[in-house]
């Protein structure tokens, strides 16, 4: 039976990244009964992994809600302790892959999302699609990604044929560059309201016909992580690899 350490090394070497600096919670010497792959290692996601008898979790986003050193300030937080204890009780090892995937294999995310959408990419982050409206595009995204609460900037009636994508979080520079490129619309997971959202609004105010779609993190990453699960099955055969689907975190009144 393989240990978590062995499997983490195998996955990171296939990503083409070093296994140093991989954010890992749990005892890496643990023997692995199964692998679960998900967008966000929420408590619900971990419970579903446990039900699937998977104790090695590969998550896009971090398990303790923060990428920084704020974790030290949570050590008296009851929910932190409860989640940590759940991980220990189920002999789980939880690995955050976001940075490694972004740095070395962002194509996996792009390919996974293209596959989920059924779109053919012109380059990993640009798609040319049959002409529709911004509203038509968002309806298609909503149906294919099971996303009811996405938020959209722009006139629903504008024509959309060229689509730029930046799944997960989109930085100010990336977002501004994409909106100034050939695309009619930028589709991202999240971008700050006081940065790229304001920029997109200002483009509209300047008379430009552009759109910006904020899918939410889960809808913008989960299908890609399902594709990652399939990809991991290509070089891990000793344990089952399960893609965990999480519900949309929000509802709208």
């Amino acid at each position: 039976m393989s240990t978590a350490q062995e499997l983490i090394q195998r996955v990171t070497s296939h990503i083409g990244a070093s296994d140093t600096g991989v954010a890992t919670v749990g005892d890496a010497a643990q023997e692995v009964t199964g692998i679960a792959v998900m967008s966000q290692a929420t408590l619900q996601g971990l419970q579903q992994a446990a039900t699937a008898k998977a104790n090695l979790v590969f998550s896009y986003d971090p398990v303790f809600w923060t990428g920084g050193d704020e974790i030290n300030r949570l050590e008296t937080d009851a929910l932190f302790l409860e989640k940590r204890d759940f991980i220990q009780a189920h002999k789980m090892v939880v690995v955050t892959l976001r940075d490694k995937l972004r740095d070395a294999r962002s194509d996996l995310i792009a390919t996974g999302m293209a596959k989920a959408l059924g779109w053919q990419a012109e380059n990993p982050n640009l798609f040319r699609r049959p002409r529709t409206s911004l509203l038509g595009l968002t309806k298609e995204l909503g149906a294919k990604l099971n996303d009811k609460t996405m938020r959209v900037v722009g006139d629903p009636a504008i024509a959309v044929a060229t689509i730029a994508t930046s799944f997960g979080n989109t930085s100010q520079a990336t977002g501004i560059a994409a909106l100034n490129g050939p695309a009619d619309v930028l589709v991202c997971g999240y971008t700050r309201e006081w940065e790229v959202v304001e920029y997109a609004q200002d483009m509209l105010s300047a008379g430009l016909k552009k759109g910006l779609v904020l899918l939410g993190e889960n809808a913008s990453v989960q299908p890609a992580m399902a594709y990652c699960a399939e990809w991991i099955r290509g070089f891990v055969s000793e344990v089952p690899v399960t893609a965990i689907a999480l519900p949309e975190p929000y509802w709208n009144p």
């Binding site: 722009g154 200002d202 993190e217």
Partner: protein, 295 residues
């Protein structure tokens, strides 16, 4: 001692009105603001003139939540050339423009501001630091019809409602089509914590765990505080989180800024520019643009 807003405004008028009408410059207005904010003016932070000349004579003042192009157009149409914004003009908290020198939209927006003799002042940190109470918190409480307890904290006691009922109340009072909610719509709610604008895991997690049924915020990344709230709900805690959107969660604080300014700037009109919600969603695909100044 707790001053009422009327007392603050009355005191302000007494010191602020000049003996005779002279040209009021941006610098004059800012100096009066320094004297009225109730806390020593500090240099750290982001508050500064972002575009325009401090010696510009002021024809009118517009306050607004964010220095959007729409807001500047509305201000110019209302002949208000000093635009006091809570959030940035040039798309980052620091209003950093080094990377934007060749940006076509930067050039267009800046040229418009110059052509209309507009001055943009970023008024973020001091308005939050205002004593005796954060100006954004006061203005949002006024909009929601809440009286703030003293000493001021971030908790509000409400008439008993549900998480869904509270969300609909925010939707109605703030004109918020796209607000999003984590938690059970039927959750009973009678005490909430509020953290307008961006709210990260800290201080968000301690707020959620405090003596409240729900936390109301403006904005945060899904894998940060939002995921924490989801986990709290999964773990069986009776809690909810309402995410309003950044602009709609703070902008009535800038209406209060207009009221506050009128207390010590009487030579020129002071107007509030409410921004339209930047987003629509599949449930309400309504597109609005072109902000209007409040009468």
């Amino acid at each position: 001692m707790r001053l009422t807003r009327r007392q603050i405004a009355a005191g302000a008028v007494a010191v602020a009105v000049p003996a005779k009408a002279a040209t009021l410059t941006v610098r004059d207005v800012l100096e009066r603001m320094h004297g009225q904010i109730g806390t020593p003016w500090f240099e750290r932070g982001v508050d500064r003139i972002i575009a325009g000349d401090p010696e510009t004579p002021v024809t009118g003042i517009a306050t607004t939540m964010m220095g959007t192009f729409d807001a500047f157009k509305a201000a110019a149409a209302a002949k208000c050339n000093l635009v006091i914004t809570h959030e940035p003009t040039f798309w980052s908290h620091q209003d950093t423009i080094t990377q934007l020198q060749d940006d076509p939209l930067y050039k267009v927006k800046l040229a418009y501001m110059k052509a209309h003799n507009l001055v943009s002042f970023h008024f973020h940190d001091h308005w939050h630091a205002k004593l005796p109470v954060d100006g954004i918190h006061q203005g949002m409480a006024d909009r929601m019809g809440w009286s703030l307890p003293a000493p001021y904290d971030r908790h509000i006691d409400l008439l008993p409602t549900t998480l869904g009922g509270l969300a609909r109340e925010f939707q109605r009072k703030l004109g918020d089509r796209t607000l999003r909610v984590v938690g059970d719509p039927e959750l009973p709610v009678k005490r909430i914590a509020v953290s307008w604008g961006n709210c990260s895991l800290l201080p968000g997690a301690p707020y959620l765990n405090s003596d409240c049924d729900a936390l109301v915020i403006g904005e945060e990344q899904d894998w940060d505080l939002i995921a924490y709230a989801q986990d709290l709900v999964t773990a069986g805690r009776k809690k909810g989180l309402i995410v309003l959107g950044h602009i709609l969660s703070e902008q009535w604080g800038m209406e209060y800024a207009a009221t506050w300014l009128r207390g010590f700037v009487t030579e020129v009109p002071v107007r509030f520019v409410p921004l339209v919600e930047p987003y629509w969603n599949l449930k309400k695909p309504v597109f609005e643009i072109n902000t209007r100044v409040l009468p």
